[in-house]
């Protein structure tokens, strides 16, 4: 894609699509002619693109740990935490057995009916993917159901590059259930089941318990695996060192993390923090 050197370039996690767009409209109130180029992907895919030379002015990701793993200190100095979220199980009224499923029986419904299609996002590209694996590990302990993690991992039907794709697949009827962020479920008007706080990765009080969950992400070469421990979900934003529009990028981040941005985040199901 040909890029405009004067445009503000924002690369963001798919889950942030709607709030980021709404914050750009606020920036346009001050700079009505400003060109903005938006690009999005799973957060790990976003970070890898920057590490491989993609030039952007703002990068907003679904996990600050992705900054630490891939971008800090070479491409980014620090990241700023601006929102929190939690994992839920999203579905809609046409999902098979949607009239039966609830917060207690969700695993039995998903595993008990072979016609049900449930999906997660790809843990190599998207934090929602490794957070789903963590949720399953924690659920195995929390519900004292040995083998639950492996059964859920063996049973999914579809794998998507990012959490937003899961929501779209649900709306299109390609899947019945998706392990998703609460914010994305609310933005897409999906129904959802909340998980207990002990496993939904929402609460800093349970940070030590979440850290019992561990996901290994395969590297390009043997020995280059990345180990990620469970932690409360926190979204973070930063300005890459090679940004050409640092002042505008700063103004955008001030909007995102300021009072109007907070209202937008809250309205989109995120918790500004």
């Amino acid at each position: 894609m040909k890029t405009d050197p004067n445009a503000l370039k924002i690369l963001h996690a798919g889950a942030l699509r709607k709030p980021i767009k709404e914050c750009i409209h606020i920036l346009w109130e001050k700079y009505p002619n400003l060109k903005v180029e938006l690009d999005y992907a799973g957060s790990r895919a976003c970070a890898k693109a920057v590490a491989e030379g993609k030039i952007v002015d703002v990068i907003a990701l679904a996990d600050y740990q992705v900054f630490n793993d891939i971008l800090i200190p070479r491409f980014v100095d620090t990241s700023f935490v601006f929102a929190a979220d939690q994992m839920v199980l999203a579905f809609d009224e046409f999902s098979t057995d949607s009239n039966k499923i609830n917060g207690q029986n969700w695993m039995d419904v998903l595993l008990g009916n072979p016609t049900i299609k449930y999906a997660r996002s790809d843990h190599r590209l998207d934090p929602c993917g490794y957070r789903t694996l963590m949720l399953w590990q924690l659920a195995e302990q929390y519900y004292a159901r040995p083998g639950l993690y492996q059964s859920l991992e063996n049973g999914w039907s579809n794998l998507y590059p990012k959490s937003l794709d899961l929501a779209v697949a649900l709306m299109e009827g390609k899947i019945d259930y998706g392990f998703e962020y609460l914010s994305v479920s609310k933005q897409m008007n999906l129904q959802y089941i909340r998980f207990p706080v002990e496993i939904n990765l929402s609460d800093p009080r349970h940070a030590d318990y979440y850290a019992r969950a561990k996901v290994i992400i395969e590297g390009n070469y043997p020995g280059l695996e990345t180990e990620i421990l469970g932690a409360p979900i926190e979204f973070a934003v930063s300005i890459p060192k090679n940004s050409n529009q640092k002042e505008l990028a700063r103004e955008f981040i001030e909007i995102l993390t300021g009072p109007r941005g907070e209202e937008i985040l809250e309205a989109n199901g995120l918790i500004p923090c």
Binding site: F67, V81, S202, I271, P272
Partner: protein
């Protein structure tokens, strides 16, 4: 909602003790929301307060001028919004304490009255 009023009219809510407790924790040690959630619930074991409620109360108190936030970078982790208490916040905390002392007295008076009635046999405990 029960509120103590500061001189300039703004009040800190003492409902569920959330705002006074947060102001007290921030007065002891200016810190960020993540750590406040951890220490809040350690101090406030009777009732679990959701992270979203704590973040919302912090933002509300900042709008009202009781706390002030600034970004604080950490060596190994991300930068987070760190909260400091303001002079208005200290004043609001003091007024919340007065309000809570009044409530405490009301509760003690009520309990004493009830105990007296029970001791006199005016209330059948069965």
């Amino acid at each position: 909602m029960i509120a103590g009023k500061t001189e300039n009219g703004a009040g800190v809510s003492v409902d569920r003790m959330i705002q006074p407790m947060l102001l007290l924790l921030i007065l002891k040690k200016p810190t960020h929301g993540y750590e406040l959630i951890q220490s809040f619930n350690a101090l406030h074991e009777g009732e679990i307060v959701e992270p979203g409620t704590i973040y919302r109360n912090l933002r509300r108190m900042e709008k009202e001028g009781f706390v002030l936030s600034s970004w604080e970078a950490s060596e190994s982790g991300p930068a987070r919004r760190k909260y400091d208490i303001t002079e208005d916040g200290i004043k609001a905390l003091r007024e919340a304490v007065l309000k809570l002392e009044q409530q405490k007295q009301q509760i003690e008076d009520f309990l004493n009255e009830y105990k007296d009635l029970t001791a006199r046999g005016d209330i059948d405990e069965n």
